[in-house]
């Protein structure tokens, strides 16, 4: 029988072929499509779909991620010719990772908002290439998936959402120890530096399935909850909420009013600067929100407040993904079809008014925020250290701010 880890590798190969095809398409000018089909396929089709996988299990995408596969491949090859490699990341890597991840999220936000990454083939190739280089490079320096655990912004984001996923891996009970008989769990190395025989942190578990194959863990259902976050993870949650707030604002007519007003002040040459400020301002606003709540509730637990922001960020990301898919999903797919197949094509007609209200979509988006509030209301007691009103105040204020933006007409021409 094929092991789960082998299945995961095969799926990584398949997604790797898909990614390579998209990058090849990104290299050339479109012939019949509206925009660069490689870039739009990656950022307007794949990117909005991935967060939905977290509803099943946080970092489930990592199980099929081609860059995780690349890391594994280099890791295996380097066993022979790179004896200098560290067995596990040191403290320095962990500290740099804790700072890098929130910064990377903000940089990605700037790339999307100010540089139109989703439309640019060369920039898409550069971003994916940098990620691939990072993944392979770190595997050459450290055994395992150091990139995925400490440097991949997408993986870290999905890890935060793991608290809201339906399934996770758990050690087989009773925990299997070194005294196991030969018929018991086999030896294996967790590439995410976890110890699956004792506990599996869903924040970091990448579903490589090696512990499952070794009989040391099982897939088990879980109830959505809030995690206790470390300092870096809490900073990531705040940065993520801020960047998502900036992206939400970008989708509303308030954005063009903001840009117009700022350009009147700064001058027409500063468009990129004005828009690049948005993710920074959003992050600052999210940090101020958390700070204000900490002060008002007399709690000292800013990380707990940041943890309560995670369901709000998840609701916002899913809501935005639905908006992007509703606006650009079909046109992007259409672009791919006409670019690859000789079907008749008269061209496209974009909506004359980009901003519109789709009642069903709005209802779903508000349902997501209501679910975030309900989750914190009913599950905050289980979050160690999160004081009574801190979580409630954070999720209420965060959801209210996002809900206010989502009430506006939103762009269907992302």
């Amino acid at each position: 029988m094929t092991s789960l880890a082998t299945t995961s590798r095969l799926l990584q190969l398949a997604t790797g072929i898909g990614l390579a095809t998209a990058l090849l398409l990104a290299l050339r000018q479109p012939v019949r499509a509206e925009a660069n089909v490689g870039a739009t396929a990656i950022w307007l089709l794949w990117w909005p779909v991935v967060p939905f996988l977290a509803l099943l299990a946080g970092r489930l995408w990592c199980a099929v991620c081609p860059l995780a596969g690349l890391s594994d491949l280099v890791d295996r090859a380097a066993r022979r010719f790179a004896p200098w490699r560290r067995r596990a990341p040191g403290r320095r890597v962990q500290r740099v990772g804790a700072v890098w991840l929130p910064v990377a999220i903000v940089l990605l936000g700037i790339a999307f908002l100010a540089l139109e990454l989703e439309m640019s083939g060369p920039m898409t190739i550069a971003v994916v290439g940098l990620f691939a280089l990072g993944s392979a490079g770190m595997a050459l320096a450290i055994r395992g998936r150091a990139w995925c655990r400490y440097a991949c912004p997408l993986g870290a984001t999905l890890g935060l959402y793991a608290s809201l996923g339906r399934w996770s891996l758990r050690p087989l009970s009773p925990p299997a120890g070194p005294t196991e008989t030969p018929s018991g769990p086999r030896l294996f190395r967790c590439p995410a530096y976890l110890n699956p025989r004792h506990s599996i942190d869903p924040l970091h578990c990448q579903f490589c399935a090696r512990c499952l194959d070794a009989g040391a863990a099982q897939i088990s259902p879980r109830r959505p909850s809030l995690f206790v976050l470390g300092t870096g993870e809490a900073a990531l949650a705040i940065a993520l909420a801020g960047v998502l707030a900036a992206d939400t604002l970008r989708m509303t007519p308030l954005f063009i009013t903001y840009v117009g007003a700022m350009l009147d002040i700064l001058g027409p040459a500063y468009y990129r600067l004005v828009v690049a400020l948005l993710p920074l301002l959003g992050t600052l606003a999210a940090a101020l929100l958390v700070g204000a709540i900490i002060v008002s509730t007399r709690s000292r637990d800013w990380r707990g407040a940041a943890a309560a922001l995670v369901p709000v960020a998840f609701a916002a990301q899913l809501g935005l993904s639905l908006q992007h898919l509703a606006g650009s999903g079909w046109p992007t797919l259409q672009g791919l079809i006409v670019e690859l197949l000789p079907v008749p094509w008269e061209g496209h007609l974009p909506p004359s008014e980009a901003y519109s209200v789709m009642p069903f979509l709005k209802a779903v988006q508000f349902g997501l925020f209501a679910a975030a509030v309900a989750l914190v209301v009913y599950r905050r007691r289980r979050t160690q250290g999160l004081s009574g009103n801190t979580g409630l105040a954070t999720v209420s204020a965060g959801s209210a701010a996002f809900a206010g933006l989502f009430l506006l007409p939103m762009s269907l021409a992302c």
Binding site: A35, A114, E116, I256, H348, P350, R380, A403, G404, P409
Partner: protein, 149 residues
């Protein structure tokens, strides 16, 4: 670590929360009206021109060089509609009325910016037309724009 004692949530608190959410929603709706009107910026451009940097650059160029863009066909597919006769019409018509189509169409934006670049490089209108035709032909039904002599 000791788990803190948490007070039960009263109905009053939940209602307060709902009131806050409703008020913020109402505030959001009223703010949403901004930018939807037909007002122009101090630069004389419609608000939708500010959606992206490239859209803004295209509208600026369409206002600055309407004659050049009126000699170029648009290949996005707007040729299916009778009111679009050339690339300029995607941004601003012959009477100076702005059109939001160009703000939402990457092909129109790319064509306008290519025309701008080629013009800056010193190419003649006929050469620009030739290069635009070569690059964009096949993207969609073109506008019925007369050929350039």
């Amino acid at each position: 670590m000791a788990v803190p004692v948490i007070p039960a949530i009263s109905r009053r608190r939940v209602s307060r929360l709902l009131v806050i959410l409703t008020l913020s929603a109402a505030a959001g709706t009223s703010l949403g009206c901004t930018g939807q009107d037909g007002s122009l910026s101090s630069e004389g451009l419609p608000r939708y021109a500010y959606r992206t940097e490239t859209a803004l650059a295209s509208y600026r160029y369409a206002v600055a060089e309407p004659d050049l863009l009126s000699k170029l066909p648009c290949y996005c597919g707007c040729g299916q509609l009778p009111e679009f006769l050339n690339l300029r019409d995607c941004f601003v018509d012959a009477n100076g009325a702005f059109n939001a189509h160009g703000a939402n169409c990457q092909t129109c934006i790319d064509e306008a910016l290519d025309a701008k670049r080629l013009h800056a490089e010193g190419h003649s209108v006929a050469e620009i037309r030739q290069m635009i035709d070569r690059t964009y032909q096949g993207r969609g039904k073109p506008t019925n724009t007369p050929p350039v002599d």
